[in-house]
Amino acid sequence: MFNINAADENESRYMGDIGNIALIAVFTLSLYTIITSVRGINTRRNDLVISAERSVIATFAMVTVSFFALFTLLARSDFHYQYVTQYSNRDLPMFYKMAGLWAGQAGSLLLWLFILSGITAFAVIQYKNRNRELMPYVMAVFGVTTLFFSFVCLFLTNPFRELVTGAAGGIIDFTAQDGQGLNPLLQHPAMVIHPPILFAGYSGFLVPFAFAIAALITGQLDASWIQSTRRWTIFSWLLLSVGILLGAKWAYVELGWGGYWAWDPVENASLMPWLTGTAFLHSVIIQEKRGMLKVWNMTLILLTFILCIFGTFITRSGIISSVHSFAQSSIGPAFSAFLFFLLVTSFSLLFYRFPLLKSENRLDSLLSRESSFLFNNLILLGALFATFWGTIFPVISEWATGTQVTVGAPYFNKVNVPIGLMLMLLTGVGPLFAWRKTSTYSLKRNFLIPFALSIIAGVIMYILGIRKIMPLVSFYLCFFVAITIVQEFMRGTRARHKNWSEPYHRALVNMTMRNTRRYGGYIIHFGIVLLFIGFTGNSYVKDVSGELLPGESLVIGDYEVLLDRINHGSVPLYDYSEVILTVKKDDSIVSRKLAQRRNYKASQQPTTELAIHSTLKEDLYLVFSGMAPDDKAVMNVYLNPLVMWVWIGGFVLTIGTIIAMVPGPKPDRRVSLKKRSEDKEYAEAEAV
């Protein structure tokens, strides 16, 4: 259906032209947005600003046209275009043809631009009346960002480039018979949604960044820009979190090395803005409550967006080779220049406005919520620095010595595990401290039960055989934090039950929904606890390898993995060998699994389709690595404890963030009516 014939060919060519013309329009409109916004600011003319607003919306419309033009080319398998030939083939299912949109560098940058322009258009519609004084500046920042991305898409890595070949008469264009196919590693459902969600997270941080720049330029450094962008920041943080976890899930089920996080430079690239974004979400509360840390908050939000761009630069420039750097490209210098521009302009503005960002209060006590948030920030920044240094060290070493020194997982684990544990401790104690200072009474009341119970739990864990120091500390802290969270929910529910005479279940729901930010935050913290439980399981990973004939088995932990059968076959996309396995525990069959080794025909790339028997306690991870010369199946089997809790933790974190984004309740109607009648009484009294 989608293979082009001669009649369709001309129409398909037009699609490429339409895509290119739309990109030119995007570039022009972005330039127009910047010029018109700036002129609008200088002349204070409404027509200029409204025209700039419409230009932002039209930019999104034009990117959409360009994006769908590329999709049509992929759907029609038009191998007249380089991008389609490189990332698709005729037999590829439509679902993965869509994923081809962001499989390569040109397509993924177009996707970035598509999401970015969508978010900017939405933000303009949302804020045009509410933040009128800042919006022209915000739109100018939006314009600069879309201008950069449209420049890259149009001139440096254009997805609508045609295939050309040298001939006697000069260079001529031609159409390939078939494409090279989508990288088999990317043919996974998580990979179809992981990039759009991650890019949406990156793009979302543009909104608070643009508002921060606008606040710096205008000198309106009050609370309103923070209040306006609060939900955008939380939303972007959620998307970034989900994007990172989906990437981890993909790595776990697709790459077949037994884990989900390898401290790959690209993984680190998405983690870094997450760390600064998390720090910002915490420290901005101090600014809202106490008018402190204004410079710090400004620095964090500027840094977060710059790190998002840095993440894309690392992923797509090929500067540091990794599993994600599928394409080496020429966009490096452009991204470096843009990063430099962002860094210099934003931090110069921050320096210029330094006198206006004075703190309204001072830190009263070390035992206070402010101090714990500040420590939490410092620790997150410590993690950022360690991750950043480990990520760019190979580049620095290559630049300085000519040899690239790779920094592996042991470095990151050694540095970041203690940092993570400190963070977990603060996750537990921070919310129990009061603002300003915490009295001995509060300390006793808030810490006694969690401390006592977690000590008991720690002793039990030690008796049960958890003797390694780091996992023991980690489980202890997880338990401690979980108890503090449960304690908070119990106290709140009990107070509401008694004061409002509500049944416990209703008191719990009403309390949460009336204080969404606080209790949503606690649920997020609980999700983080579950994630840490999953991470700690990594300390107890076991693995075994062997070459098996049908009827032979491998033993790992309580499990026996029996090889039943080996099959070989072929489907249109790939040739395959597969093993049928029976998983037994205590001599009874618990599962039957199928693992494959595929060889994709178009790309001639082999992949491993592994099998996982997953329980809350552990994952049995079965990898069929290929055939040995004597017709034996080469098997690698891993026993990964507690992995399921990582995904459950991610789910809980998502629910918590959604709750935290729900607006607080409107004033009670009964209260409003009472207030109105009181007003009437006052008015009557005054009249008398």
Partner: protein
């Protein structure tokens, strides 16, 4: 056909973006006066302080903070709120007589409390007749034992 579609899209985009220059209608205001900007800022700060007070009340009710901590913070937030309310009224030109009656009364109460050297919160608390726990004045029930106070 395709050329026609491209032309149509181009004309639509041009019209959409440039229409504000030629429309005869009065355009909505896209700029704010300094007074409006200031008012926006104060309103945002007032909202944040009200949120803080709500949080503080919850923390006290759930026993997270002691009476002393509660009093100090309550005092601090109220003072700041009074200051902002006064500034907002001055902006509205109601500092000495304008504005709604309720706002004026609230402002007067807050202003009086602000001028006091030290605000005594002892009257804001009562002892529960059942368990003797200190409870915020005006509570319907004791948060500790649930005794009905009103």
């Amino acid at each position: 056909m395709v050329e026609f579609i491209i032309l149509l899209i181009a004309v639509t985009v041009f019209w959409f973006v440039l229409e504000p220059y030629y429309t005869g209608k009065k355009l909505p205001d896209r700029f704010m006066t300094k007074k409006q900007v200031k008012k926006n800022d104060l309103t945002a700060r007032k909202d944040a302080l009200n949120d803080n007070l709500k949080d503080l009340e919850l923390e006290f009710q759930t026993g997270m903070i002691s009476k002393d901590d509660y009093s100090v913070l309550h005092d601090d937030y109220n003072n700041r709120l009074a200051h902002i309310t006064r500034e907002l009224q001055e902006l509205d030109g109601s500092g000495s007589g304008g504005g709604s009656i309720r706002e004026r009364i609230e402002a007067d109460v807050l202003a009086r409390r602000k001028t006091e050297k030290k605000i005594d919160f002892s009257e804001s608390f009562i002892n529960c007749p059942e368990c003797k726990t200190e409870v915020v004045g005006g509570s319907n029930f004791c948060p500790e034992c649930g005794f009905k106070l009103k």
